[in-house]
C-alpha cells in the first residue's frame, strides 16, 4: 500500500500537468455518473416564470431561453460528452489499430490503399466531411458517433503504421521472423504491444477532439437537438442571446466544454511524456 502511494506520488511529480489533467477528467466523469443526484433541477424542466434569469441563488448559472436551469443542463451535458467520445474512441482503436498494423507490416497494396484513403481525408476539412456524411445518412446520434469514429480510424491507422514501420526497420522483427515465428505471432506479440504506445498517448487527444467536434456538430444543428442537455446544442441555443448580454446561456456550457478539452489534452501531454521519456519536457 505504502509503495503504491509512493509510486503514485512519483508519477504525479514526474508529470504534474498530466496529473492535473487526469484529476479534472475524473471529476467530469464523476459528474457524468452522478448527474441526477447532483443537479438541483431536472435538465429539461422549463420554469416559465423565470426565462433568461441571471445567475442567482436559485439558478446558480441562470436559466436559458426556455427557462431551463443552465447548471443542471451542464452537469447532464457531461453524459453526452463521454457518451459520444468513449464509443468513438473504442471504434477508432478497434478498427484503426489492426489496419495500421497490417498496412505497416505488409506494405504493398494494403498500405497503398490505406495511404490513399488517408490522403483523401487529409485534403478535407474534417468537420465538413463529418457534416456531409451525417446530413446524408440521417441525423441520429449513432450516425454522429460512427462518422467521428471513421475520421478517428484514419488517425490511429497513421500512428500505428508509423510505429510499425520504424519497428520493422529495427531488426527485432527480422530476428523474430528468422526464429520461425508465424505472422500472426509477430503481429500480435511483437508488433502490437510495441506500437500501442503511440496509440495510447493519442487516446486523450482524440477524445478531446471527439468532444469538440460533436459539440460543433450539435452547434450547427446536426445530431443532438436543442431541448437535450448537450453542450454544443446549449451553445447554439444561447448564441442569439450573447449580443444582448445574456452571456451565461452560451458561455457557461462553452466553458465546461473548454475545460474538459484542455484537461484531456493536458492528460495526453502527460501520457506521451511518460510513454516516451525522450520526449519529456517537450510539447506535443
Amino acid at each position: 500500500m505504502n509503495t503504491a502511494l509512493r509510486r503514485a506520488k512519483a508519477l504525479i511529480l514526474s508529470t504534474p500537468v498530466g496529473a492535473a489533467g487526469l484529476a479534472i477528467v475524473l471529476l467530469y466523469a464523476l459528474v457524468a455518473l452522478f448527474a441526477p443526484a447532483l443537479a438541483p433541477h431536472p435538465p429539461i424542466k422549463a420554469f416559465a416564470d423565470s426565462v433568461l434569469a441571471a445567475p442567482d441563488a436559485q439558478f446558480w448559472f441562470g436559466t436559458d431561453g426556455n427557462g431551463m436551469d443552465v447548471f443542471s443542463r451542464i452537469l447532464y451535458g457531461a453524459r453526452y460528452a463521454f457518451g459520444i467520445s468513449i464509443p468513438v474512441l473504442a471504434i477508432g482503436m478497434v478498427c484503426g489499430v489492426p489496419i495500421g498494423l497490417i498496412a505497416g507490416y505488409r506494405g504493398g497494396w494494403v498500405d497503398e490503399l490505406a495511404l490513399r484513403l488517408m490522403d483523401v481525408l487529409r485534403v478535407f476539412p474534417s468537420i465538413v466531411l463529418a457534416l456531409a456524411i451525417v446530413a446524408a445518412t440521417g441525423q441520429t446520434l449513432a450516425n454522429v458517433v460512427i462518422v467521428i469514429a471513421i475520421l478517428d480510424i484514419a488517425v490511429f491507422v497513421r500512428v500505428v503504421r508509423a510505429e510499425v514501420l520504424t519497428l520493422r526497420a529495427s531488426g527485432m522483427v527480422d530476428a523474430a521472423i528468422n526464429a520461425g515465428n508465424p505472422t500472426w505471432r509477430i503481429l500480435l506479440v511483437h508488433l502490437l504491444p510495441n506500437s500501442l504506445r503511440g496509440a495510447l498517448a493519442q487516446m486523450p487527444i482524440r477524445m478531446a477532439w471527439a468532444v469538440r467536434v460533436s459539440a460543433t456538430l450539435a452547434f450547427i444543428g446536426v445530431g443532438v437537438q436543442v431541448p437535450e442537455p448537450e453542450w454544443g446544442a446549449m451553445i447554439r441555443e444561447g448564441s442569439e442571446y450573447v449580443i444582448s448580454g445574456e452571456w451565461w446561456v452560451a458561455l457557461l456550457p462553452g466553458t465546461a466544454l473548454v475545460i474538459l478539452v484542455i484537461a484531456l489534452s493536458m492528460l495526453g501531454d502527460g501520457l506521451s511524456d511518460l510513454l516516451d521519456p525522450r520526449r519529456a519536457g517537450r510539447a506535443r
Binding site: R116, P125, A215, G238, W247
Partner: protein
C-alpha cells in the same frame, strides 16, 4: 524548371485523390435516400413533373452512367445548377469565395506571425516565461472550439466594451460596398481609395481573424517549438555552438532548418481552417463560401454540396502545392 516538374508530379498524384473525392461525394448523395427530382420539383409538383425532372437529370439511368455523365459535364467546367436557387453552382461558389479567403488568409497570416516567432523563442529558452505562456496559449487555442471563441469575443468586445462592430456581415449597414475587383471588400476599398468602406471592412474583419489566428496558432506554436528543439539538439547545432558561432547565427540556422517541417505542417492546418471558417462565418453572418456550403449540406442541396467539396479539395491541393514550392526554395535537398 524543378518547380514545374514538381507541379506536374503533384498534379499526377492529385488526380486519383480528386477522383476519389468526386466518387465519394457522388455516392454519398446518391445513397443518401434524398430524391433530387422530388426536391427540385418542390412540394406542389405532380407525379408527372417528378418523372420529367428525373428524365432530365438522367436519374433513371444506372448509377455508374450517371457518374460518367457527371464527370463529363464537370470536365467542361460545369457543376450544374443549385437545386434550390436554380443558379449555376460555379457562379454561386465563386462570388462567395473571396469573403472566406479574406477571413481565413488574413487570420492565417496573423496566426503564423504570432506562432512561429513564439515557438522559436520558446525552444531557445525552454521553461522560460515565454515558453510557459506559449504553452498555455497553445492549450487554450487547442481547447477552445471556434464556436466558444467566437461568441466569447463577441460578448467581450461587442457587448461589454462596444469596441467591435456587431457580428452581422462584412460591412456596416450604411456603407456601400466598393466595386468588385478582387472580391475582398477591404482590398477593393483600398484600391479604389474608398477609406470609409475600408475602415468598415477592416473593423468587421478583426474579430473573425483573431478567432482564425488563435485556432491556427495553437498547434503551430507546439509544432514549431518541438521541431526547433530537435534542431537545437542535433549534432550540427551542437558543433556550431562548439565552434563558438554567435547566437544570432545559430538562431538563423535553427530557423532555416525549422522552417521546412513547420511550413508543411502549417499547410495541413491551413486546410483545416476552412472547416473552422464555416462555423465562424455562421456566427459572424459572414456569407462566405464555407457558410454557403454548410447551409447547402444542411438543406440537402447536393448540386452545391458536390461543387463545394470539389472546391475545398482544389483549395487544399493549391495550398499543398504552394507549400511545396516554398519548401523547395528553402531546402536544396527538396529540389532533386
Amino acid at each position: 524548371m524543378a518547380v514545374l516538374r514538381l507541379l506536374i508530379r503533384r498534379l499526377f498524384f492529385a488526380l486519383p485523390i480528386l477522383f476519389g473525392i468526386l466518387l465519394l461525394t457522388f455516392l454519398l448523395v446518391r445513397l443518401s435516400g434524398n430524391d433530387p427530382a422530388g426536391v427540385l420539383a418542390g412540394p406542389t409538383a405532380t407525379g408527372e413533373d417528378v418523372i420529367r425532372i428525373t428524365k432530365q437529370l438522367q436519374l433513371d439511368k444506372p448509377v455508374w452512367q450517371q457518374f460518367i455523365a457527371y464527370v463529363n459535364t464537370l470536365a467542361h467546367g460545369d457543376l450544374g445548377r443549385s437545386w434550390l436557387s436554380d443558379k449555376p453552382v460555379v457562379r454561386e461558389l465563386l462570388i462567395r469565395l473571396p469573403a472566406t479567403l479574406e477571413m481565413v488568409i488574413g487570420g492565417g497570416i496573423l496566426g503564423a506571425l504570432i506562432a512561429i516567432p513564439l515557438g522559436l523563442r520558446a525552444a531557445l529558452r525552454v521553461n522560460g516565461i515565454l515558453d510557459h505562456s506559449s504553452r498555455i496559449l497553445s492549450l487554450i487555442g487547442f481547447g477552445a472550439p471556434t464556436i466558444f471563441l467566437g461568441l466569447l469575443l463577441i460578448y467581450v468586445f461587442f457587448y461589454l466594451f462596444g469596441w467591435a462592430p456587431p457580428p452581422m456581415g462584412r460591412l456596416d449597414l450604411l456603407t456601400t460596398a466598393p466595386p468588385t475587383i478582387t472580391g475582398s471588400y477591404l482590398i477593393d476599398a483600398l484600391l479604389t481609395g474608398n477609406w470609409e468602406a475600408a475602415r468598415s471592412a477592416a473593423a468587421r474583419l478583426v474579430l473573425p481573424c483573431v478567432c482564425v489566428a488563435t485556432v491556427y496558432a495553437a498547434p503551430l506554436i507546439a509544432q514549431t517549438r518541438a521541431v526547433a528543439m530537435d534542431v537545437l539538439a542535433s549534432d550540427y547545432a551542437r558543433y556550431a555552438r562548439a565552434c563558438g558561432l554567435p547566437p544570432r547565427d545559430i538562431r538563423r540556422m535553427v530557423w532555416r532548418n525549422t522552417a521546412v517541417p513547420v511550413i508543411t505542417y502549417g499547410a495541413t492546418e491551413l486546410v483545416a481552417l476552412f472547416g473552422a471558417a464555416a462555423v465562424l462565418e455562421l456566427i459572424f453572418s459572414w456569407g462566405g463560401v464555407s457558410q454557403f456550403g454548410l447551409m447547402a449540406i444542411l438543406k440537402g442541396d447536393f448540386a452545391v454540396v458536390q461543387g463545394f467539396t470539389l472546391l475545398m479539395s482544389l483549395i487544399a491541393m493549391a495550398i499543398f502545392a504552394v507549400a511545396d514550392i516554398v519548401v523547395m526554395s528553402l531546402d536544396p535537398r527538396a529540389r532533386k
